[in-house]
């Protein structure tokens, strides 16, 4: 029987990418072309319905703008704020709106076409004038036009995506992923993005096979094609032949059997052969994935990414709304704990309109943005405190780079506690507060940081990005994003030791913990808490239960002496061989 490499070698209908989320999917595709705005010029039959859709798109656009503004408000004084205000006013422009509504009725064309045509008229008028003078305004009008059209189309997408499809797109945002996860999507393929892009992370947590960074899948695949997504090897096969279909159907079946076997591990501890117990916790992105947390046997939630709430709710969530979400989380996970990370917005995670930073990853993100936007931050702190009655909530600060930030955040937490006390509201007075260690400055000063907080959690995605100075979303330099770079391993070692020296717990919540190859090394470096995508927990547990801590420790010590990533990977692969551990991709 043929194996994977033979199948791939013979296939002239394959597209190579990065293996972002394990699994095999075979299904028809839906080409999701959102970056290129394609305007549907078709005619309509129901004028009332079309006009209603327009009103809804305008309302939704207004809510989105309000949320963006709430986030950026303090930094966007004066002129920028007025541009935002002007965009909002365009959504209410009586002349524009009545012209569009009238034309829908008269011409019976798709509202997105009328909106595009009508606003473009104004844009054409502007383009006659000298460019520099009108440029900024032209950009604002383009922005608002696209926003309205996107919101009109979103309704269309939702109705077009039938169940059980594979989504092909240039990029996918967390908001897109949520939209798709509700349609029982079978797989994802993107042109751009690396292994730590949102498309990759969320696919893993939803247990949906994904291949990212394929460069050209959107131009090579057409609507209606059938594809195979191999999320283990990072290949997409377009319109497979009989032999390929047979092969992958067999592999998919074997995989299902294997996964069912792994689920039996749910109730056994993740313990090494020499009795060291490792706590495997879940990283949670989408509130709907709580069931996955339980079925995979996670011991609590090691990272709850609250940015998700911002994506799901169109408007900025109020204190009450947040309290409800966090309290629900706390009671569902009880008696285990949940670590709630403060909004990590900015960078690539939440694009704030009209707020383009030349270097977003080095700019206003994480704790920096929160401290500059105190009312917003306090809303979240108060909500976390109010939800903490069961004492199983931990609170974690993202992107900390100086001690001052920790102290300032702690002062705000104290302030919120005082307020709640005065309001006679119950909360956990000893709410455990910790930080993400993901900026090199925090890693270097780990002992000083450890003294300030109750716990620490290593965010490997950003740590590696900042340590090696490589943009994790840029597939041109993706090969430099090295999880096993000796500098990364030594930094992890330094962080773990420093935290223990101060008597603080330290865990890891980056995607590295989900890499089966990394697990013996992480255990060997001394970590006892790993937080990972829930669906990868059984795989990690399987490995932990076959290794001994003393062997892993020896492995880690050796790896600390190497000077290239290659040596480290080869050493770990030898460790897998010596301990007869097979990686999942080699079992099926």
């Amino acid at each position: 029987m043929k194996n994977f490499s033979q199948i791939f070698k013979e296939a002239d209908n394959k597209i190579a990418g990065l293996a972002a989320a394990p699994g095999i999917a075979i299904a028809k595709v839906y080409l999701f072309m959102k970056e290129k705005l394609v305007i549907n010029q078709g005619t309509i039959t129901d004028v009332i319905e079309a006009q209603k859709n327009l009103e809804e798109a305008l309302t939704k656009s207004k809510k989105e703008l309000n949320k963006i503004f709430a986030l950026a408000a303090e930094k966007m004084e004066g002129t920028r704020a007025s541009i935002f205000e002007a965009q909002l006013m365009i959504l209410d422009d009586p002349v524009l709106k009545s012209n569009i509504l009238k034309r829908i009725e008269k011409e019976k064309k798709q509202p997105e076409f009328i909106v595009h045509d009508e606003i473009s008229k104004y844009q054409r008028r502007m383009s006659v004038f000298s460019e520099s003078y009108m440029n900024e305004r032209a950009h604002d009008i383009e922005d608002i036009k696209n926003r309205i059209i996107r919101n009109l189309q979103k309704k269309g997408w939702e109705s077009q995506i039938t169940n059980n499809m594979i989504i092909i797109s240039d990029t996918l945002t967390p908001a897109d992923m949520i939209l798709f996860s509700r349609c029982n999507v079978k797989g994802f393929v993107t042109d751009h993005g690396g292994l730590t892009s949102h498309a990759a992370i969320i696919s893993r947590s939803l247990n949906i096979p994904a291949v990212v960074g394929t460069h050209n899948s959107t131009s090579k695949i057409e609507d209606g094609d059938t594809v195979i997504v191999d999320g283990f090897h990072g290949y997409v096969i377009v319109n497979p032949n009989e032999e390929q279909l047979d092969f992958f159907k067999r592999k998919a079946k074997k995989l299902t059997e294997l996964q069912q076997g792994l689920l039996k591990l749910r109730d056994v501890p993740a313990e090494t052969t020499d009795g060291r117990e490792i706590t495997l916790m879940a990283n949670v992105d989408v509130t709907g994935e709580m069931d996955v947390v339980f079925t995979n046997g996670a011991k609590g939630i090691g990272l709850y990414r609250t940015e998700q709430i911002l994506d799901e709710l169109i408007e900025f969530p109020t204190e009450d709304e947040q309290t409800k979400i966090y309290a629900n989380l706390s009671s569902r996970i009880y008696p285990d704990t949940v670590t709630i990370r403060a909004f990590d917005i900015g960078g690539d995670k939440f694009k704030i309109l009209d707020f383009t930073e030349p270097n977003p990853f080095l700019g206003l993100r994480g704790i920096r943005l929160l401290l500059k936007n105190k009312p917003l931050f306090k809303t979240q702190i108060r909500a976390v405190l109010r939800a903490s009655k069961e004492k199983n909530i931990y609170f974690m600060l993202p992107m900390v780079s100086t001690i001052f930030e920790v102290r300032e955040a702690k002062a705000l937490i104290k302030e919120c506690k005082e307020e709640l006390k005065n309001e006679n509201i119950n909360f956990d007075k000893n709410l455990k507060t910790g930080i993400m260690v993901e900026v090199p400055s925090a890693a270097v000063l780990i002992e000083q940081f450890a003294r300030e907080v109750d716990f620490l959690s290593i965010g490997t995605n950003d740590l590696i990005q900042y340590l090696i100075a490589v943009d994790r979303g840029n597939d041109l330099v993706a090969d430099l994003y090295q999880e096993f770079n000796p500098a990364v391993i030594r930094t992890l070692y330094h962080i773990i030791n420093g935290s223990y020296k101060e008597g603080k717990t330290v865990s890891i919540c980056g995607e590295m913990a989900a890499d089966t190859l990394a697990i013996p090394l992480l255990v060997g470096l001394g970590l006892t808490v790993l937080s990972l995508s829930p669906t990868t927990i059984p795989y990690a547990k399987r490995i932990i239960r076959t290794i001994s801590y003393s062997n892993a420790k020896q492995l880690a010590e050796e790896c600390l002496s190497f000077s290239t990533e290659k040596e480290i990977i080869e050493r770990i692969e030898r460790f897998f061989k010596d301990n007869t551990i097979t990686r999942t991709r080699n079992i099926i």
Partner: protein, 88 residues
């Protein structure tokens, strides 16, 4: 009906912020308000219309007010133009 020729006297011209202010002022009144420049007639209650009007420093516009409260409307808006949109 009131007609008045005004001159843009601030450096940045009729950019986004004053456009928004003018539209908000006009919205308070029942009277129609039109801006004419180079033969183009713009409804002064439409932000997108006013924003896309290229009126640099020194250019002349004709303002037309027509309706029951045209006098107050004209007074407030002409005044705002004369103040150089409070940017002088």
């Amino acid at each position: 009906m009131i007609e008045k020729i005004v001159k843009i006297c601030n450096k940045a011209g009729l950019h986004t912020r004053p456009s928004a202010t003018i539209v908000k002022m006009a919205a308070k009144y029942e009277s129609d308000f039109y801006i004419t420049k180079d033969g183009m007639n713009i409804n002064g209650k439409s932000i997108i219309g006013v924003m896309t009007l290229a009126a640099e420093m020194g250019s002349e516009l004709k303002l037309t007010f027509d309706g029951p409260d045209e006098e107050q409307a004209a007074k407030e808006i002409i005044n705002y133009f004369n103040r150089g949109f409070d940017e002088l």
